[in-house]
């Protein structure tokens, strides 16, 4: 039975469990002689209890089965391979398994099929069929057992509503822990591979090294690609592009927020604010396309016309477009904090005879400064983690430079280039991406925590 059919069967069982439970409760009550009043809960709760006990355990088994099915079957198939194949190094074995899976999926069948692989593929198909059948039987049996059990225990004294509510509450708790598991998952997955990387490349070499060229030699006797993993140029490039972006975004974003919240009338604000927010809603891949095909050639032509040598993948183009992307981010955060400054401060300053702009510069902005700083920090972390714009518009060469007309590379570009395409999980080249990812996660986390603390402190000050 395929997974979707099984799910359909479970759904039908759940629905019928609900009706059976409800009918049973009514029947019990009628048998008790005094209609439904003797029931502890409304009949629907008895139905809901039956449905929950039918669906919940079966679904848990279903999802766990599917999560582990393919790895378990692969292990079993490997165990069934001839010993000489099992003794192969991990990467060759991976190829063999890939062949087997292709054969099973009838995707690309190689011309000459090794008999051992053919038999392994048959074994694989057989195991998958067995696994699916077992799952179908077990899940359906558990679902039916759940219904029957609830049917049996239904009585006027059964506190069905309380049972159902407790179960709902546990489900809510389980859902809310997913956020925790996501964080743990991120930390563990990145940390595990990063530690493997730091076993090969020492930490101090990664953090302080000045040369980044992750191309590794495939054979030992190859020349020219020894692999150097000094992350300084990569981080310098990230900071250069982020700095350019902030130079664009902070003044424009802040000034538009000030204008919109202090000067603009309602009508203008109602038009301009959504238009600004459109900038935030445009996907980053669109910005990347815009940077690579419009802005970069424009900057290059402008540079050439005044006699400057501009790289076609200059940091300036990527940074400029990234700045445009971040404008609404800065402006909406600053807008919030500027609006949160109490009107009494403005009235006081205006009453003392200062002009509107003096009030803003000398009273409102200093009062809003912590919040604005928090917003800018969030924007910086956004800029550091931004991927598509730099992948499309910035280069791959890791130059250690602060010249915005040169090509630089960033952390996210390197992660994408190292991980897109073929990967082998024991070469430092692939693992380096996880080390970079770890640094990225840690840096953005620190920035976010500082920003959140600053913003929260500030809010409490005026509330």
């Amino acid at each position: 039975m395929s997974s979707s059919n099984l799910l359909l069967v479970l759904l039908m069982l759940t629905v019928s469990g609900y009706f059976l439970g409800r009918r049973r409760a009514v029947a019990v009550a009628v048998a008790g002689g005094r209609n439904q009043q003797i029931l502890h809960s409304r009949p629907t709760y008895y139905g809901a209890l039956a449905a929950l006990w039918c669906a919940f355990p079966a679904l848990v088994i279903f999802s766990f089965w599917h999560l582990f099915e393919s790895s378990v079957i692969t292990q079993l198939v490997i165990a069934g391979l001839p010993p000489d194949m099992q003794a192969m190094p991990a990467d060759r074995l991976g190829l063999v398994i890939n062949d087997i899976k292709n054969l099973v999926g009838a995707n690309i069948v190689p011309q000459k099929i090794h008999p051992a692989i053919q038999s392994a593929a048959d074994h694989y198909t057989q195991l998958t069929a067995i696994s699916h059948a077992t799952l179908a039987v077990i899940a359906t049996a558990i679902a039916i057992a759940g219904i029957l059990w609830v049917q049996k225990i239904i009585s006027p004294e059964l506190r069905a509503r309380n049972h159902v509510e407790t179960m709902i509450k546990y489900m809510l708790v389980a859902c809310s822990t997913i956020a925790i598991f996501t964080t743990i998952g991120i930390v563990l997955s990145v940390l595990y591979e990063a530690i493997r990387f730091f076993k090969i490349v020492p930490l101090h070499e990664f953090v302080f090294g000045l040369k980044w060229s992750p191309q590794m030699a495939i054979r030992a006797d190859q020349v020219g690609s020894s692999g150097a993993f000094g992350a300084v140029p990569v981080f310098m490039g990230t900071m250069l592009i982020s700095a350019i972006a902030m130079c664009v975004a902070v003044p424009i974003g802040l000034m538009s927020a000030i204008y919109l919240s202090e000067y603009a009338d309602k009508r203008f604000r109602a038009v301009a604010k959504p238009l600004l927010e459109i900038l935030a809603g445009i996907p980053t891949v669109v910005y990347g396309f815009f940077a690579a095909l419009v802005v970069a050639p424009m900057i290059r032509n402008a540079g050439v016309s005044i006699g400057l040598d501009v790289s076609s993948e200059s940091a300036l183009a990527a940074g400029l477009v990234m700045g445009i992307m971040i404008i609404p981010f800065v402006s909406s955060l600053s807008d919030d904090v500027i609006n949160a400054v109490p009107q009494s401060l403005r009235d006081g300053a205006l009453g003392l005879g200062s002009t509107h702009s003096e009030t803003i510069r000398l009273v409102v902005l200093p009062a809003a400064l912590p919040g604005i700083v928090g917003g800018v920090l969030l924007a910086v972390s956004r800029a550091i983690g931004e991927t598509m714009i730099v992948v499309m518009a910035a280069g791959l060469a890791a130059n250690l430079t602060v010249n915005p007309l040169n090509t630089v590379t960033t952390v996210t570009v390197q992660i994408v280039t190292l991980l897109v395409g073929d990967q082998e999980f024991d070469s430092p080249k692939t693992l380096a991406a996880f080390a970079l990812g770890l640094m990225l996660f840690v840096i953005t986390l620190i920035l976010n925590v500082i920003a959140l603390v600053v913003v929260r402190k500030y809010r409490e000050q005026y509330e």
Binding site: P251, E358, T412, L419, G437, F441
Partner: protein, 447 residues
Amino acid sequence: MNNHSRDNHAGRNNDAGKSHISTSTKAAAASTMDIVNQGLSRRYNAEKRFRLYGICAIILSMAFLAMLFISIIGNGYTAFQQTFVKLDIFLDPETIDAQSLQDVNYQAMVKQSLGAMFPEVKTRAQKRELYGMVSTGAAFQLQDFVRKNQQMIGSVIQLWVPADDDVDMLIKGHISRDVPETERRIKDVHLSWIDRLQEQERIQKRFNTTFFTAGDSREPELAGILGAVSGSFYTLIITLVLSFPIGVATAVYLEEFAPKNRWTDIIEVNINNLAAVPSIVYGLLGLAVFLNFFGLPRSVPLVGGFVLTLMTLPTIIIAGRAALKSVPPSIREAALGVGASKTQMVVHHVLPLALPGMLTGTIIGMAQALGETAPLLMIGMVAFIVDIPGGFTDPSTVLPVQIFLWADSPERAFLERTSAAIMVLLAFLVTMNAVAVFLRKKFERRW
């Protein structure tokens, strides 16, 4: 600063007791007024400048927005049309065997028809140039036509087939005829052929249905976005089915049930941090956990949906909590007061009132997920896939990734298709956001 306060102080004294102050203080006050008046024009100018900066900032952002849209629409609108060439093809009953239609050499028939139109082309090299004028897809189109119209075998048919992308670009004016031949992708001999075809009215621009009905292709004139759109569709379905219930449940728990203790504090801080984690880190998580640990297949919408679910959950949870917060406590107290249990209070009264706000947040989260590219690159949804995916476990790509892939292609024709795909993506996003705004306007309640 010090100066200012003294001036103001003197000014206030002056205003307060105008009638009975001595002439000496009056003179002093007049001099401070002079000082104030002297600075006034400078200060008013500063005021005007400051205002101007604000207006400039807004105009500049609007200009960026306009430039973005103009460049994309300007590059992309031509992609909705495609140049077609009319061929006269004799369906020779001797070569077409009605029993085995797929074995017929349709390519040769297309070439023969082109050769008949330009009988002066003799050399092998020139013939190859000539045959390159129409797309390689012409043969498949012919095959389709013959299969559907078997009664036509034996007669001469007229068939409009897509032109090659270079011809298409020339007709649309993206390749200039004035450029020297060596720098042009279209040679002079091609130009003469195209001119002759145009004279015979055998070249026409038509609406490009291929763009909406085909999967990816290496040939620009055969490439379409349907594969990517359906990949996006399946990915978003998974994302929606998982993230909406989980997000709502988490929001309800944190807002209505959770006790205020360290554990819920940790969850809250966690969610706020996850909202700001770079999306590519979610890609690393997906790669390490879903692909390597659980061994799920690469490039499938299922895994893409999982990753995007984790990514959009914080957005949905935060929006959901805001919606629950806006429901006034009186509703809760009234429900509890007539004897509802806490769960009944939430499910029957609070949740229905908060649902429009939650839906709005979910739609915005979905719009984010639809535009997301980086994490999907990590889990292999970046492969070149021609087939249109038909399910959650078929290898596929999504619309933003398709844009990324096409943007890398050197052909001029892919540039306009990339822009057109961006227009389609933006159209989807605008629709989703419009629905969200509509929902908010329609169900917004002031308590």
